[in-house]
Symmetry: D4
Subunit: 237 residues, 8 copies
């Protein structure tokens, strides 16, 4: 019962999801211990939402040889090495309502591209200018994405409008954009949960969960991989 | 200091707004006393949001000669007689996102039409079917409304989309439609307050305040009436 | 600009989703007008969340020949006739944490089975008895569902535990079960949005949106239908 | 599908609103890219709510020739060049309940004056000293403003009192003033939404949306411009 | 440790407050047991907020000789017999913003008049018609009340305006009047807590606590009674 | 995968807790199916929070021979037969702040007494009369309860005061008593979570969870029973 | 209509309250302008809740001759000169539940002592140690305060307990003490509003409003001053 | 009535709880005065949640001889000397769902180990990898802890799952981990309050109250100490 973390080497096998470490909230020491442990075992991983001081520590560790590098303008780090599930087929469309949503969308793009998925970007296509959106969607639909991740803050209407126009499933990702009541993504989350179109939703700024969900959806839509072998000592398999 | 209500005969003169009595929350006795008092003085008025038992009492009083009659399927009653401000010029467009918003919109229509304003109705034009909306707006814009009142529950996106497409000012009216978190109009109100388009907003189901605001806007956009005479004993005029 | 509803015959074509009418919130007259209109055109549809009085009206209309019949113990009605998208391939697993979640899950089952999808039921497998869950999942995983819809009220932990054990994407559906603070599904929704596993979420009791999302996911994972033709006469400009 | 923003050159034409870029929430790089792009095209614009570091970047860019200059004590920047809609006729009255509301009101004044509108200022006229307010309103009403924007934090009562005394429409703008429960504008927003006078409301500190709404109202009250031509190449279908 | 309630005969002596039993929330059996016990001991009391079925039970018990009678239109009952503190000197002014607030104010009046206090009523003097309020206050101030209890729902502005005009302390009583967001008194409570005038506040509809507070204030402002003797046999240690 | 519920016969063994079925939220059919299934197997159980119609159904079933009988004035039903864990030693003190909290406390008493635990009742000892509380506690402490369950609505201060005076652990149970803001137990829950004394807390009205927690605490404080045998097919044992 | 603030010289006369300027939220420039304006006119005032930078500016201005000096450890500043209402008679008791509440209480003490009122301090007497409180109150009651201001964060129970033990009116002042849910004074405010004793309440940390309310209460309880003369140009007198 | 704090030397005797000073919220001066006063009397104590500047002050005072030293990485300080209750028997299990919860758990460990209790640590065993948890619990259960304190942020499911698997009572401690809606522990707290297993709960990050509750539980489960003698000179009456 020592140590700070128990590596769940079975989970990737069970669920096919890449390992992602949420940095925010962890002490920097704990974070580095986790990452170094994975590196020693030769595992790859993604590190999401590092704080400013965690980023400095990761950069310093990289300077001392830890194979980590920033993605998405530093909102995400990649630890080199294989990640679970292997490369996926399929395309994922990422749309944003505004310019302020782009960094969140790029965080999802970092996860998806790390897993070998092609990303279609359509940024700054909010509902106050509906013609731009329609032009954009015509182009994106032509590329036949398997799923749309639609990022919006403020009033969060874009995923609803998109879901009324396309065939693929749409996941709404509210972003922490907007001030006053309902700001910081609260109104956007509420609007997506109330959508009159069939959306699924993730939490505010939850780009990584949205991307992992998209990866599972891609896995589900392709030919199924052989069933994972029995985890050691598990009741389940 | 007796009696239950002090008639503010000056307010209609000062603000040009018709007298509207909010029935909900008042005891039925107090409501009837108020209405009868106005009737005795020869004033007209509107009575909004009567409860079921208040409606029964109004109907009974009507049977005994009180000159009230239902509008908007009974969500509003009209006490005969002149109401402040006189007939207005101009048109007001009322749009609803769904069928469930129609009774709220009709409440606004009752107020506007009682004041002699022409109402343009465009119902059930929600954002999940953006093409219907665009066709509708093309027709409505041709009639040049001075203001749009746009009613929406659920995710409340319609006023934002409309405000990106039309020239006249848009007032969003959230309606108590939708279930679960953000239901009963809460998400719609939040979304309208967070709109990336320049909306003004009223409270959930506040059809009457929205209509009164529209009347003032029509008054402001037409030639100004002569300034009201000085209320008795007032510092203001 | 008359009438109460604009039939969006293009939307089913565009998105492949069956027509579902949310009854709750609409006046019974408006609801029947909508359903009769679709029946006259030979469209099929689903009617969700009818109130008690709307159910009585639907039953009465059925007695007079309207081809509607209850599903899911009356939480859903089916208007006979073709619905958009045609039969789907694939299986959807519906799991519930408790007995009280079953009626919500059956609402989703009604939508899915109306669209020809096979439903795998695993009910009353909450996390306070983790062994039951593991036995159940072993069986369900053997049938290779394309997506799990996991229904839970109270603390809403089941979707998180399931998503740590299976490969297919998991959509959490909070149910309005539980009393006190966080009751009526609020805590369950919060927990699902905060999940440390990659869930997507819908609103409280939003069985129908979850089922429609699953249908789109099934469509995305199968061979794509040809792109819909241009809606007639569309576009504002 | 590259780039970070799609210029919606049609929107100004469609709605008659000047282009305003909300700086807050955007990365400084994205903000400067947007502003420089408009400058290259010869468009004017307003930039609202810049953060401290964005202001430093704008000042630095101004030093290198970008034609931007601060308004309203730096809460707003003006990019030189024509803005949509052209000069308006009419006057807008800006009232504040307290001294702390003045910076928010000046943000609205910056937008209005940039559009050529005359602004009538009546600051620090809160309801705890009702006589000051009445004296002030007597003066302002004499100038016949087309609309009042009334700014108040704390208990937010001023717009209600004003709307009971004037003829022009009143828009309430809650400000983020006040501490404890209901502080930061929450109580003020709630009070304005609950007003017993016919107010329309915008979000907390939403000076720019209020000003844009006022501009549309002025446009609506003047002679209508010819209808905008069809946006180029628009429409999805 | 039997029985359902421990009579705190010392409290009235200690604090000088009359005994008031909050009926709401108690089982009807428990309520009647409490009231009968006081009656047997010859104590008087007030019974506040009885539910409909509790009122029927009280009326039935009155028919069988229990000396209770309704006040304030049945929102309050008086059990005959002496109540603590004896008759007070002084006057209390009760103002209401609207007609719907009157029943709540009358509940306070019932408590005050039961304690022998003179009540000055000024009803329906809301802030949207500020002139009526000023006329009313001129009259009331002439009677020199020791404290104002000011009742208001909706935006709850009246206590703030009154506190800016009078010398006596003002206690705001929000009432459960108003619909939509901030309705049922929530906005009124928020506004009173945020008041820019020095108000004290009680909970929504808390007419009885407000009246009891006023009684203590009257006691504090008159000559002090001799200090209560030591409660019998008290204290844990 | 048929049926509506999976009996977790292992859980009682694992945790030593009696089976309690939360009736509220379940359909009456599902509830009766569950109870009859347990009865057929010879298991005893408790049924908590039945609705009025569920109570009627249970009474009818009892009339047809199902061995269920009401406890705690019908807020709880007991299905005859052995319940897990067997009789416990020890005493539990139940204190309530007011008379309105008694029905909730009796629900806990029903669970505890069903498990053979002695209950010490001290009702109506709220903090506004601190002397009564001190007298009561002197008596109760003399009986040496192993744990206090302290029930309070309104301001919820009683558990804090008790925890400053006694040696045994104190569990606060907020009750849904009180009106206005913070009513229905919300303020009481907040106060208990913020207590400056070391309380543990359960949800509003959660008498049954509190009682089950007390049972586990009694089990923990007595000699430990032999460890449960391995559940079938489980990874855990 | 220039300038930033309209001095309401009549209000002090009307209400007998000293002038207090809320610094927080005002720009430092506006604050200094206000204070200097009062100084020029020879008015005294209090300045509450200055921010760190406002305090530096006040200290600097004091160094240049502005007659301001800090009270209550800098949470309050006093501008020399007469303040409205003149010296009061009477005593006010200030009690705090904990040490962390003392700075807030001292803010109230600063206002009261500036107005010549005697302050009785009883600090750190929270309800978890009820005996300390009882000893303290015995002493304080012997001094016969006219009103108690009782400061408490966390669970906010102290005002309720005090109000059950003393004769004078009790005003609860929640303080922003406590972490987690209900922290920062929210639970304390809720508990005070729900108190089963007759409290009046002010907002979180609202020491100044509480003190001003106490001053009015003292004025009401002493011999009434002659009625203020008619404010210039006012409708009221 | 001078001084800032009244030492309640009786409380430790009454309740058996060690003295813990909550540093957060107190001024650093007040904190040091309290600690030095205890040191002078030879009392030991714990100091919880010091801010950064309070930690610097404590370290400086330690350098000048105050016998304080940090525990739990500085989230807790120990003042040397005896603390109430003496050493306890028994073991407490501390489990955390993630790495980010460890610092909160170590705060509880510091309190428990200061009181001589053995702590069993099982960290990073969240519900998304249920197999790890089951392995861990098998080991921990073998050591027979008297109570589990289970720390979890995010969706807060771990205490529920644990309580379904172990015999000892489980106290859930939500931690301020997680972003977006329900972040900072809000969802975890809600989920624990809604748990379908019999949990007791403390506030977010309330490691110290949880540890103190566990100490009382250990005391209750061992042989009872003789009842404390009457506090000296206590009681108000």
């Amino acid at each position: 019962m020592g140590g700070i973390a128990r590596y769940d080497v079975g989970r990737g096998h069970r669920t096919g999801a890449p390992e992602v470490i949420l940095a925010e909230g962890k002490s920097t020491d704990h974070l580095l211990t986790l990452v170094r442990g994975l590196a020693r075992r030769g595992h790859g991983a993604l590190i999401s939402r590092p704080t400013a001081s965690q980023r400095r520590a990761l950069e310093a560790a990289a300077g001392r040889g830890l194979p980590v590098q920033p993605l998405a303008d530093g909102r995400l780090y990649r630890l080199s090495g294989p990640i679970s599930g292997g490369p996926r087929r399929g395309r994922v469309a990422l749309l944003t309502a505004g310019t302020a949503d782009i960094p969140v969308a790029e965080e999802a793009a970092g996860v998806l591209e790390s897993a070998g998925v092609e990303v279609l970007r359509g940024f700054d296509v909010g509902v106050a200018g509906i013609h731009r959106l329609q032009r954009m969607l015509r182009t994106v639909e032509g590329r036949r994405p398997s799923v749309y991740l639609v990022f919006a803050g403020r009033e969060g209407a874009l995923p609803t409008v998109v879901a009324g126009l396309v065939r693929a499933p749409v996941v709404g990702v509210p972003t922490s954009v907007g001030y006053g009541r309902g700001g910081q993504g609260a109104a956007a989350l509420g609007a997506m949960l109330q959508s009159c179109a069939p959306l699924a939703v993730v939490n505010i700024d939850a780009a990584v969960p949205a991307a992992l969900f998209a990866l599972q959806l891609l896995a589900a839509s392709g030919p199924r991989a052989p069933r994972p072998s029995r985890p050691r000592g598990s009741a389940f398999s």
